[in-house]
């Protein structure tokens, strides 16, 4: 269990450091980048549950982000508390995960991935058509200030909220890695036929993971809407949003506890930070650098940043055998 203690210590250290940043740093742009980093780390980890641990690569995860963002938009516009949006978003995300996951989670490989693109496109079409979701116009939230409105003039409280969500998601993932669900998912990922033959019900456990993953992403969606105060189909439902989430998951390392955070750090520093310094993303330099890094990781370190570190550590401890066995089974 010393590994668990190590992870908890690392998480604690990160919390202390980021709380210090939240209160110590005055520069609002930097704080916004930290907030974006934490939000994408949560989204990447949520994606990691179904695509990393369970092995169903999704290119449609933005629909769950949209559940949260639109829950905020609808409820706040109707005069309700944005805190209720967390509940409404979670319920919507669970329903959407079950309705879309039940038929598709049994599809193999690329057929599943393309199905997630199709599902996300259909969800976007629905959002554009349903009148009370405001179609292409989306929602603009009124500018307010304070905890009851969940809106703040400065970015400090947003960083704290995102940090709290990040900690909750990391703890849940730590628990997943040590739980029956976690073992089942990894068994299904390694070899679903073998896993099914010992009585693991693929649909049931993957649906559970998918629903949990959807709830996490929806909470991030609420925070996103409360921060940007604007929600419309392109900003939360575009294919590029889903692909950004997936790339974060894989750059860090599929099925690892710290992978999504590492991937989000690379994404925010490169895609957002570089764009800021090179004067907007219109010139494409940010894409060149980010694309080159993804290419290099895929070719040289296909296990991702954290995946490579984990494997190296196991090799030193001489416990790589279990991994090799799992790879053999796959």
């Amino acid at each position: 269990m010393s590994a668990t203690r190590g992870h908890l210590l690392a998480l604690g250290a990160l919390v202390v450091a980021l709380v210090a940043v939240a209160f110590g740093v005055r520069d609002q742009v930097t704080l916004e980048l930290v907030f974006t980093f934490l939000l994408y780390a949560v989204l990447g980890q949520s994606w990691n549950w179904i695509s990393g641990y369970a092995g169903n690569i999704s290119f449609g995860h933005a629909i769950f982000l949209a559940c949260g963002a639109y829950a905020s938009g609808v409820l706040v516009t109707a005069g309700w508390s944005p805190w209720l949006a967390f509940v409404a978003a979670a319920l919507a995300a669970i329903v959407l995960a079950v309705v879309t996951g039940f038929p598709t989670l049994g599809l193999r490989g690329h057929y599943f991935s393309i199905a997630t693109i199709a599902v996300a496109a259909l969800v976007e079409a629905c959002v554009r058509v349903v009148p009370w979701l405001n179609g292409a116009n989306g929602f603009e939230l009124p500018i307010r200030n304070g905890w009851s409105a969940l809106e703040f003039a400065g970015k400090t409280n947003y960083v704290l909220l995102a940090l709290a969500l990040f900690v909750a998601v990391q703890l849940a993932t730590l628990a997943l890695e040590r739980s029956r669900l976690g073992f089942y998912l990894r068994a299904l990922r390694a070899n679903y036929a073998a896993a099914a033959s010992v009585g693991i019900d693929e649909r049931r456990w993957k649906l559970l993971a998918f629903a949990a993953s959807a709830v996490m992403a929806s909470a991030a969606g609420v925070l996103y809407a409360q921060d940007t105060l604007f929600v419309d189909p392109p900003s939360v439902l575009a294919l590029s949003v889903s692909i950004d989430i997936a790339l974060i998951g894989v750059v860090g390392g599929l099925g690892t506890l710290w992978g999504p955070a590492a991937g989000a750090l690379v994404y925010v520093v490169l895609a957002k930070g570089v764009a800021l310094h090179l004067g907007g993303s219109g010139k494409g330099y940010d894409l060149v650098i980010y694309g080159a890094i993804i290419c290099l990781i895929a070719a040289l370190r296909p296990d991702g940043i954290v995946g490579t570190i984990v494997k190296a550590a196991r090799r030193r401890r001489g416990t790589l055998g279990a991994d090799a066995f799992a790879a053999e089974a796959a």
């Binding site: 598709t104 490989g109 057929y111 199709a118 259909l122 997936a246 010139k283 060149v288």
Partner: protein
């Protein structure tokens, strides 16, 4: 009567659109069939070909004369990309090819944006700009040329895979890599050839598409997304499936655009994909 003639016009337009999708999809499905790789950068290969055809047009070489040149250039580009990059991805876990080719997509889009800016580049005075009238049907000549090109290209590729020795070797590799190796087939060579051919298909497609489309950095993505659905609908790795899937998708998209709204034109396409794949998880003509 008028509703019927509108439907006929839409059907023909849909089939022509479908042939354009087939043009983009055959290269994708060829690469998948031989080496199990979905090349997510296939659309960017197409984009590169469109810029190349545009450049040739600027120096006075029209798209149809330029087509073989662009196809050969893309063939060589594909070989280089395979040797330097894809080969390494194949040595890693399966998801490495997915994200590696995604990285290539981002990199190529970024380079195009940095080098050529986001401006739309259209071939000046393109040939086949007129419209052909057959009774009540109005057929843009460019679409007819593109459709004809798609049929020739798909037919040539199909004949190559069926009858040429290298094509038979490709089929052997796609059926059983280990057995093919034991029979003395150099899998790396076959993979290289297949990836080059897939890129050459994108090259030919790009040279034809500039007849009716401008070149810009993200032009490939718009075609490739549909091509992925086409390939999955027809069955990954099946060339006949890609052609059938492309025609189905083309017709559904045009009908959806007319009877629903242009914004919702892809809704029937995606619904059809989900229905097909839930009933037949391997797609229309795919192998299990």
């Amino acid at each position: 009567m008028e509703a019927l003639s509108t439907f006929g016009q839409l059907l023909v337009a849909g089939l022509l659109t479908g042939l354009v999708f087939a043009l983009v999809a055959v290269g994708l499905t060829l690469v998948y069939g031989v080496m199990d790789v979905v090349n997510f950068a296939h659309g960017e290969f197409l984009m590169l070909a469109m810029y190349a055809a545009f450049g040739l047009a600027l120096v006075g070489i029209g798209p149809l004369v330029g087509l073989p040149l662009v196809a050969i250039a893309l063939f060589l580009f594909g070989i280089v990309v395979y040797r330097l990059f894809i080969r390494r991805l194949l040595a890693g876990p399966p998801e490495a090819t997915v994200f590696g080719t995604f990285g290539l997509l981002v990199l190529m889009q970024g380079l195009a944006q940095a080098l050529f800016t986001s401006d739309y580049r259209s071939v000046p005075d393109p040939p086949f700009a007129a419209t052909l009238h057959l009774g009540a049907l109005a057929l843009p000549q460019a679409a007819l040329v593109e459709g004809l090109g798609a049929i020739v290209l798909t037919g040539a590729l199909f004949a190559f895979i069926e009858y040429a020795p290298a094509g038979r070797a490709m089929r052997a590799v796609s059926e059983d890599r280990t057995a093919a190796t034991l029979m003395g087939i150099d899998v790396q060579r076959i993979n290289t050839l297949a990836f080059g051919l897939g890129a050459a298909c994108a090259g030919a497609a790009g040279a034809l598409l500039v007849l009716s489309n401008p070149a810009y950095p993200t032009v490939g993505a718009s075609f490739a997304l549909t091509a992925f659905v086409v390939v999955a609908l027809g069955g990954f790795g099946s060339i006949a499936g890609a052609l059938l899937g492309a025609l189905v998708v083309g017709v559904l998209e045009v009908l959806g655009g007319y009877y629903l709204s242009p914004e919702l034109k892809m809704v029937p396409v995606y619904l059809a994909y989900l229905v097909v794949v839930l009933a037949r998880p391997q797609g229309l003509l795919g192998r299990r």
